[in-house]
């Protein structure tokens, strides 16, 4: 409080306009505008590579309360409290910004972190009204425009929406994937997972490593041929799965073998596409921490963390595959698996971060399956 705020605007493709105050980096930015209903975990969300290129709207109105922790790394060299090493969103839209955070782990405020990373934010927005627009008209492109002069009455910069880069045309996965392969730990007795990095979240890596696996992290377009592994993992990531043709092709080849495959989020879509199914864009996606995923054929329902704009088309699921989980709210596919082999994937995020980890066991089960594979191979 106290300091004079720069005015900012959020402009949407459909002509809607919201006025608020700028925070973070005082610069304009564009991207696909999406909303998330999660109530905690902005450090994790903002660094989630799946949000690459998107302007994130948080429906929970009070943001920044516990500040932002220092960037620290665990024993594997993976960031703690963040899902990657930098902010991935193009911008953040919130109702009320906390400028005086309170938490023992807080090293800076949300606003100063975003400023350091060059990411703009806009506060003072009726994010509920904005969410309703996105829900009704579907996600759309938008732009945060910071007024050129300070304080109220500042001139709105003349900006056209035409400059907004089209997410669907670029390949954001390439931007967030690792550039060269990286091997985490080499334990000859442990199973090795080939992790196709389409923008993998830190906690996925951590869970695998904690479960005792060796992880070989590969760029998204790597050829799996000749790679010796006990399990193949296809990670989460941003954008339209169909742009990842190289990954799809690579996975399609892997489906000829019998190495266990598991995927999360974008990985679920890529696995489906590789198997011959189709994907489509949801009107406004699933982003939040309270999505109920029903295990097909049981009475079990799991709370899941989600962040995706695309889904697997149910009717397109080919012979030999079956839906594994469905969303209890809207019936969309939340996971699929092969009827014959250890190929499966889920649309939600078992690793949480942010969000519940009620399904973390799925990821652990996969590592255990790879371990069995590994010991079988050794016996053979």
């Amino acid at each position: 409080m106290g300091s004079i705020k720069r005015e900012a605007f959020l402009l949407l493709e459909d002509g809607s306009e919201f006025r608020g105050q700028a925070f973070g980096a005082l610069r304009s930015s564009s991207g696909e505008v999406v909303f998330s209903t999660g109530m905690v975990g902005y450090p994790q969300s903002l660094t989630d590579p799946s949000y690459r290129g998107q302007i994130l709207v948080l429906t929970y109105p009070l943001v920044g309360n516990y500040g932002v922790p220092a960037m620290k790394f665990d024993r594997y060299g993976i960031p703690l409290d963040f899902e990657s090493e930098k902010i991935q969103v193009s911008g953040l839209v919130i109702a009320q910004l906390s400028e005086e955070p309170s938490h023992y782990s807080a090293k800076r405020s949300l606003s100063s972190w975003m400023e350091e990373e060059g990411i703009p934010g806009i506060a003072g927005i009726d994010t509920r009204a904005l969410t309703q627009i996105l829900r009704e008209r579907g996600v759309m492109k938008g732009k945060i425009v910071v007024a050129s002069s300070s304080a109220a009455g500042g001139q709105k910069a003349e900006q056209s929406l035409g400059e907004i880069q089209d997410l669907d045309e670029t390949n954001p996965v390439a931007e967030v994937s690792c550039e060269v392969p990286k091997l985490y730990r080499t334990n000859p007795k442990a199973p090795t997972i080939a992790l196709i990095d389409c923008g993998v979240k830190a906690n996925i890596l951590r869970i695998m490593l904690d479960r005792g696996a060796n992880v070989l992290r590969l760029p998204w377009d790597s050829d799996l041929k000749g790679i010796d592994c006990d399990g193949i993992f296809i990670s989460n990531g941003p954008g339209d799965p169909k742009t990842c043709t190289k990954t799809i092709a690579s996975v399609r080849r892997a489906l000829q073998g019998d190495t266990p495959i598991f995927g999360i989020c974008l990985g679920n879509q890529i696995l489906a596409l590789a198997a011959g199914a189709d994907t489509y864009k949801l009107p406004y996606g699933h982003r939040g921490q309270n999505q109920p995923a029903l295990e097909v054929g049981s009475q079990r329902c799991f709370m899941t963390s989600q962040n995706h704009g695309y889904a697997v088309r149910e009717e397109s699921i080919p012979h030999g595959w079956e839906p594994w989980f469905v969303n209890a709210n809207d019936g969309t596919i939340e996971g699929l698996r092969s009827r014959r082999r250890a190929f499966s994937a889920v649309q939600f995020h078992p690793e949480g971060c942010p969000g519940p980890r009620d399904t973390q066991f799925l990821l652990e089960d996969f590592i255990d399956e790879a371990a069995r594979q590994s010991s079988n191979r050794r016996k053979a």
């Binding site: 209903t37 905690v40 509920r128 309703q132 939040g288 329902c301 969000g355």
Partner: protein
């Protein structure tokens, strides 16, 4: 799982501190859920003012005490095959466990539905509980169970002082507290052992954050957390006494999900089926946590969580108890989604307790691990500041929001330092005051341990107020900057009235200004999914942080403001009236709009009305809603005094007030106008006068003769109303408790001794009475009508008295052209009738009179108000072939030091109503329902002045002939002995001699104490106080009113001869 056919639901009885209206909400939801499933329901609950005991809720309703003995009798009669224990608080749970242990449930084949008794027991026995939690790696505070003071002392040494002492199996934290040394420990243990055989000595976690989760699990092991909440006050203050915020504000994703994960593990390992609450302490400086408590039942917190999220916890819990899965139950708000999800909030919720400590003499106002509050409010906003300031106003403590006014610091205020360190019901104002005096967030945090985030938001409010103060001093910023200042003030929760007082303007001017500038609140929905799915929800609130309304105006319908927080004098009975008015209006095809801010109520269930505004009951907010919705009118006569007080203001603002006209309401409310009206009608009233100086008051009192009733219009502290028996006390009272001035006069009226108090509850249409119920009090006049024991139909009135009362009532109704409910109170000496009060609204006895007479007087009143067709009913409740008795429920055991004596100020927190074919039966059931027990052997008497001793003699003889052994203080013993009754004389507590009353009280040698207070000597008063207080502290039934004591002994005699009548309400026809 086989679905049961007939299910017994246990309620929670009269509202008391620690167990209040939330169980009307949970029981009602359970009954609705059972009914939907086609299950027959039986309900036991003596709380006659509840919605759950209304027609159409249970198939059979028993207004009986919630004791194992009575429940067994109902089971024998009704033969249910299932029982729900989780919907009636600790009372129902304890009762159920006892029946289970005694083998009654097994014997009659009654299955405990939902969470099993073994699982409940696990959560109730701290040792078993801690063992279980440790087995799954969950952390609990170090705790040692003790069954003697010696054991407790050893445990405390082992753990290290300070320690927390709790009584096991006690509701609302009764008997618990912090002990810093051995002396405190010993005295605390003594009290705790009077409540429970086991005491727990625990590690002290003062200053840790307190966080709660509400968890739901089905029998398929699906498990979710519906809501988490963070206490504004750190650990050390009972969660019922804390300001609570939902969702948590200062927890990171790691902390939030760590505690959530532990919650799921714990609840799964215990095997809860249904709803449960888990409370944590979280270290503010690390990720260390401790599990404080698990409540394997619906609780105060779960009611709050339901209202905070829109997730109907009790309804879902009941369905799960019947074997449903979370996946099957539709989300009632969105309809499109299922109940197996965790609500996402896009707003902030603040709960503030409502205390009424100023109503009690000698009471300790410090807050701690025991509950003292009598109710609570909940507010919703899109900023914490907005929600907090709204909530402060909702409590009705007279604050315009956060404010540094000295009077808000309370009468016992010494210094800011103490007020911040030692939490009382006023600490929030001390925090604000500290910021006003320039304290830093850090300094206030150090003194209070309240998280700096919360404090920072409060400091921000102060900064805005400072800017406003500058404006008030004439430094008005120009143009848009001023508009933006007002806008930011509104976003931070300032009311128009608050702004007006800071800026030195009128409330209407502020309103006009902001309307002109377009500073208007937006209407937002609570939809459980943060707008992710389109929801047809009608659950609404208003915020200034919005640019768009979620709904469009109704343009029709009826608006019913509710009764606000439960407090002494206004409780669940008014919620019953509001809900019934809404139900009738809906039946008549009207659209209904409810406004209320109390999370414990049924009126705030969004399926009760067409639109629910969880909002303030202030003029500003009611008008905001009225202007937005444009209904046909407002009904103000259902929610008690709060809506009634808005009548003139709303009328002046141009709103349509339905029913009796606002100007006639004013004629009844304004003492001068009403007095003139009575004179005009030739109706008698006690002599009274408005006085502005103590001398005038004394002169007037002398002229009418003592005693006089003194009613100050402006109260600084202590009791608002009092009876003065002589000039010394009149002057003392006036000098201590009031500010006397022409602006704040005192009303002194003649207090008429030895007279009966009679009330009439009636409904009229255009001045003609449609139905009336005349009730009499068992106590003589002088006991507040809310504390009195009330009988319907009146059993002991002269026909002539009844005739006169009717005549007077007719005259008043005609003169004020009453349309709707009203209540008049009379005092009668022989056949001389005087009017003492008249309210042109439903009174607290409307549900009682409606249920006993089986004429729904609110339905009738609502029809009259809406000008609809009236059903045929009898014209009065005079000739019923049964009797109803309403008795007050007190909570003195929770209010340390408070003198449990009755007077002109109301002290009870709740009530019960029981029905019997004769007075004695109904009376005894009512007494047992409020916690009296049939005495076994020893009775202590001290029966006050000679006149009372004589009056009581007959009853003493009855006690002797029933085989009771009598003990008495000096004078009473002498009197009884000289009248030929055997009686042991005991020394007074202040005497050193033995056998002493105090010693025997402590040893719990008495089964009943009858102590009739005198009004003379100081020492005797002190002795009497010590006896009464000890009786309360050691949980021994106590009577302080001679008429009630006598009636009790008569009923005891009758009970010994005839036993109890066990009949459902539905059978009295």
């Amino acid at each position: 799982m086989k679905k049961p056919e007939k299910v017994l639901v246990l309620g929670s009885g009269g509202l008391k501190i620690g167990q209040a209206g939330e169980f009307d909400y949970s029981g009602s939801q359970a009954l609705k859920a059972l009914r939907e499933e086609g299950v027959k329901t039986i309900l036991i609950n003596p709380n006659i003012a509840t919605i759950q005991t209304s027609e159409g809720m249970a198939d059979s309703t028993y207004f009986l005490p919630l004791t194992p003995e009575f429940v067994r009798k109902v089971i024998e009669k009704e033969r249910p095959d299932g029982i729900l224990l989780a919907f009636g608080g600790q009372t129902a749970l304890n009762c159920g466990i006892q029946l289970y242990d005694e083998g009654i449930l097994y014997k009659y084949g009654v299955e405990v539905l939902g969470t099993s008794v073994d699982a409940i027991r696990l959560t109730e026995d701290r040792e078993l509980f801690a063992e279980k939690l440790h087995s799954i790696g969950a952390k609990t505070p170090r705790s040692v169970a003790a069954v003697s003071v010696e054991e407790a002392k050893n445990a405390a040494v082992e753990i290290g002082y300070p320690v927390m002492v709790r009584a096991a199996f006690a509701l609302g934290g009764a008997g618990s507290g912090l002990c810093k040394n051995e002396k405190q420990l010993a005295s605390r243990c003594e009290k705790a052992f009077s409540l429970s055989p086991q005491v727990l000595v625990e590690e002290w976690l003062g200053g840790w954050k307190e966080v709660e989760y509400e968890v739901v699990r089905d029998r398929f092991d699906n498990c979710i957390t519906v809501c988490n909440m963070e206490n504004f006050d750190p650990l050390g203050i009972h969660t019922g006494e804390s300001i609570v915020v939902a969702p948590s504000q200062t927890l990171t994703d790691r902390e939030y999900h760590m505690l959530r994960q532990v919650a799921l593990q714990v609840i799964r390992s215990i095997g809860i089926v249904g709803e449960c609450n888990i409370q944590y302490a979280l270290d503010p400086a690390s990720e260390e946590y401790r599990i404080i408590e698990v409540n394997a039942r619906l609780s105060r917190s779960s009611a709050l969580a339901s209202k905070a999220t829109g997730y109907p916890l009790a309804y879902v819990a009941a369905k799960l108890a019947l074997g449903a899965s979370l996946v099957e139950i539709p989300n009632k708000i969105t309809v499109a989604t299922k109940s197996c999800f965790e609500p996402a909030l896009d707003y902030c919720v603040v709960k503030i307790p409502r205390w009424d400590l100023s109503k009690f003499k000698e009471v300790d106002t410090r807050l701690g691990s025991e509950m003292k509050s009598v109710g609570e409010v909940m507010s919703i906003g899109r900023t914490f500041e907005e929600a907090l300031q709204k909530a402060i106003r909702m409590t009705g403590m007279g604050a315009r929001g956060l404010s540094d006014e000295a009077r808000l610091l309370g009468p016992d205020f010494e210094s800011l330092k103490t007020a911040l360190r030692q939490p009382t019901d006023r600490r929030l104002f001390a925090v604000y005051r500290a910021f006003a005096e320039g304290w830093s967030v850090e300094a206030v945090h150090k003194a209070t341990k309240i998280d700096p985030w919360f404090l920072g938001r409060i400091a921000a409010v102060r900064k805005i107020e400072e800017k406003l103060i500058e404006v008030g001093k004439g430094k008005k910023p120009r143009g848009q900057a001023y508009v933006e200042l007002i806008r930011s003030a509104k976003r931070s929760g300032f009311s128009d009235e608050g702004l007006a007082s800071i800026l030195g303007q009128k409330e209407q001017d502020i309103r006009a200004f902001r309307e002109a500038k377009g500073i208007l609140p937006s209407v937002k929905q609570i939809d459980t999914l943060a707008a992710e799915f389109p929801a047809e929800t009608n659950y609404l609130y208003l915020t200034y942080s919005g640019t768009k309304d979620d709904v469009s105006p109704s343009g029709a319908g009826v608006m019913v403001p509710g009764s606000g927080p439960y407090r002494i004098g206004s409780s669940v009975e008014f919620d019953w009236c509001c809900v019934n008015a809404i139900q009738t209006a809906r039946k008549l095809g009207r659209r209904t709009i409810m406004v209320n801010c109390n999370p414990e109520t049924v009126s705030t269930d969004y399926d009760v009305c067409d639109r629910l505004y969880f909002e303030e009951l202030s003029l500003e907010r009611v008008l905001d809603i009225y202007e937005f919705e444009r209904p046909e009118g407002i009904i103000l006569s259902m929610g008690g005094q709060i809506p009634n007080n808005l009548a003139m203001k709303l009328y002046d603002s141009g709103a349509v007030v339905l029913g009796t006209s606002s100007s006639n309401i004013d004629r009844a409310e304004d003492r001068n106008k009403f007095s003139a009206l009575l004179d005009e009608l030739g109706v008698d009233q006690p002599e009274w006068k408005d006085l502005t100086t103590a001398d005038e008051a004394a002169q007037f009192a002398k002229s009418v003769g003592y005693p006089v009733l003194v009613r100050p219009s402006y109260v600084l502290s202590g009791a608002a109303m009092n009876v003065a028996w002589d000039e010394i006390r009149l002057r003392k009272f006036l000098s201590l408790a009031t500010e006397l001035s022409p602006e704040h006069p005192v009303v002194v009226s003649k207090f008429i001794e030895n007279s009966k108090e009679i009330e009439i509850d009636a409904v009229a249409s255009r001045g003609k009475i449609l139905f009336h119920a005349i009730t009499e009090h068992i106590e003589n006049a002088g006991v507040h009508s809310g504390d009195a024991t009330v009988v319907l139909p009146a059993q002991r009135l002269y026909i002539e008295t009844i005739r006169q009362i009717r005549r007077i009532t007719e005259k008043i109704a005609a003169e004020l052209e009453i349309t709707g409910p009203f209540n008049i109170q009379f005092i009668a000496q022989r056949n001389k009738i005087k009017v003492i009060e008249c309210n042109l609204r439903a009174s607290r006895s409307f549900p009682f009179c409606s249920k006993v007479s089986r004429v729904n007087m609110i339905d009738l009143a609502t029809r009259a108000i809406l000008n609809a067709e009236l059903p045929k009913t009898s014209s009065s409740a005079l000739d019923l072939p049964w009797v109803g008795v309403k008795a007050a429920q007190f909570s003195f055991s929770r209010l340390h030091g408070a003198d449990p004596i009755l007077g002109v100020e109301m002290a009870s927190t709740g009530e019960v109503g029981c029905i019997g074919t004769d007075l004695d039966d109904a009376f005894m059931k009512a007494m047992l329902s409020v916690g009296y027990r049939i005495p076994k052997k020893n009775v202590l008497l001290s029966t006050g002045p000679l006149q009372d001793k004589i009056e009581f003699l007959d009853s003493a003889k009855k006690l002797t002939s029933m085989g009771y052994e009598l003990f008495a203080s000096g004078g009473t013993a002498r009197f009884l002995n000289s009248n030929g009754l055997a009686c042991t004389r005991l020394a007074w507590p202040l005497e050193k001699a033995e056998p002493n009353i105090a010693t025997m009280l402590k040893a719990r040698e008495f089964d009943l104490v009858i102590n009739i207070p005198k009004n003379n000597e100081e020492k005797e008063l002190k002795n009497d106080y010590l006896i009464r207080r000890a009786a309360v502290d050691f949980n021994i039934p106590l009577f302080t009113n001679i008429k009630v004591a006598k009636q009790f002994i008569d009923a005891l005699e009758s009970h010994k001869a005839k036993g109890f009548e066990i009949k459902a309400w539905e059978e009295y026809r």
